[in-house]
């Protein structure tokens, strides 16, 4: 009986040790980004009809750094960063950098008013197919992808960007 009791205790301790070790290993490392949104992954191609007319297709921008920004007119942080994105566009447009805004979950008129209000001159168009945000793993707005000239993701940023961050991340993608 004593042996049985000891056996049960040792078995329980062994099980706890295995679980504790596995849990410790999982929590000690930062959770990895999902595969398709990790730096180095090739950004999914997409096309959007622009509010200003014409079309923007990501795959046609190979050779240039492309900054893809997901936004909506009702999104408060989007309003904060819009002027900063326009400033970055003015600074880098002649240095092989393209900026493209993808408007999601919004009304056409509200989006156009937003563009006019902030004087945005870079390409902007709606996600009419309702698939681009999902394809990019977007969970909130704003979200910005910095894509290198080879089409691979350099960095993904969730939340509003500061002016300094926009410049830093563009420079990083240009390298």
């Amino acid at each position: 009986m004593k042996k049985g009791k000891t056996g049960i205790l040792l078995g329980a301790l062994a099980l706890l040790a295995v679980m504790g070790y596995s849990l410790a290993n999982r929590s000690s490392a930062a959770p990895a980004e999902p595969f398709a949104v990790r730096p180095g992954h090739t950004a999914g191609d997409f096309s959007i009809k622009l509010f200003s007319g014409g079309k923007f297709t990501l795959s046609e921008q190979r050779g240039k750094v492309t900054v893809v920004n997901f936004w909506a007119s009702w999104c408060a942080p989007c309003r904060e960063e819009a002027p900063l994105l326009e400033q970055a566009w003015q600074k880098y447009k002649d240095q092989g950098v393209i900026l493209a805004g993808v408007n999601v979950w919004d009304k056409d008129q509200d989006a156009r008013s937003f563009i006019e209000r902030y004087g945005l001159t870079f390409a902007n168009g709606p996600d009419s197919a309702e698939t681009i945000a999902v394809d990019y793993g977007v969970t909130g707005l704003p979200e910005t992808w910095f894509i290198k000239g080879d089409g691979k993701l350099a960095r993904r940023w969730i939340g509003a960007l500061s002016g300094r961050q926009v410049s830093t991340f563009i420079e990083e993608a240009l390298r």
């Binding site: 009986m1 049985g4 049960i8 329980a12 679980m19 596995s22 999982r26 959770p31 980004e33 999902p34 595969f35 398709a36 949104v37 999601v104 979950w105 996600d127 197919a129 309702e130 698939t131 945000a133 999902v134 394809d135 990019y136 793993g137 977007v138 969970t139 909130g140």
Partner: protein, 167 residues
């Protein structure tokens, strides 16, 4: 009278429930081929921004977009595994309602059964031990400790000798 009243109330409730069910079925609209599969896949995905709601049940715009993507992939002939894998690649394994049965997650699948077995085994051991202890304290009746008649006779003679010796 009371029985009749109860009967009528029961009929009224049953009729109301029937009307509600039929109305909902009609309001659901025509069933599009692939609806069932889209719904089943969406039910197995957690909306990333909706506090535990499934993609099937959430009214958020992201969930709506996800359902659009699921439908397009179903119509394109992609398998359930491929579609689920697509979402895991973009949102991580946390988007699955049930953890995948691989790696450390296997523990989540077999641990409850193992726990039940251990608990049952422990209960059996404790019950047997309790019974054994209980028997040890029960008053001993003649023959209850399993001695033959001859052994009992010898035991009684030894007992009497010991008592006579003490006195």
């Amino acid at each position: 009278m009371i029985a009749m009243r109860d009967f009528l109330v029961a009929i009224l409730i049953a009729a109301s429930l029937t009307v509600i069910s039929v109305t909902q079925a009609i309001a659901g609209g025509p069933v599009v081929p692939g609806d069932q599969e889209v719904r089943q896949i969406a039910e197995n995905l957690v909306c990333p921004i909706c506090n535990g709601q499934s993609v099937a049940d959430s009214n958020s715009q992201l969930a709506q977009d996800m359902r659009v993507v699921i439908r397009k992939k179903v119509e394109a002939g992609e398998s359930r595994d491929q579609i689920m894998g697509y979402f895991v690649d973009r949102y991580g394994e946390g988007i699955l309602r049930a953890p995948q049965n691989s790696g450390f997650n296997q523990v989540l699948w077999w641990l409850p059964a193992l726990g039940l077995l251990i608990g049952a085994g422990f209960s059996v051991i404790m019950a047997r031990r309790w019974n054994a202890n209980r028997r040890a304290f029960l008053p001993v009746e003649s023959g209850s400790i399993g001695m033959t008649g001859e052994e009992q006779e010898r035991y009684h003679q030894q007992l009497e000798q010991a008592l006579r010796h003490d006195s």
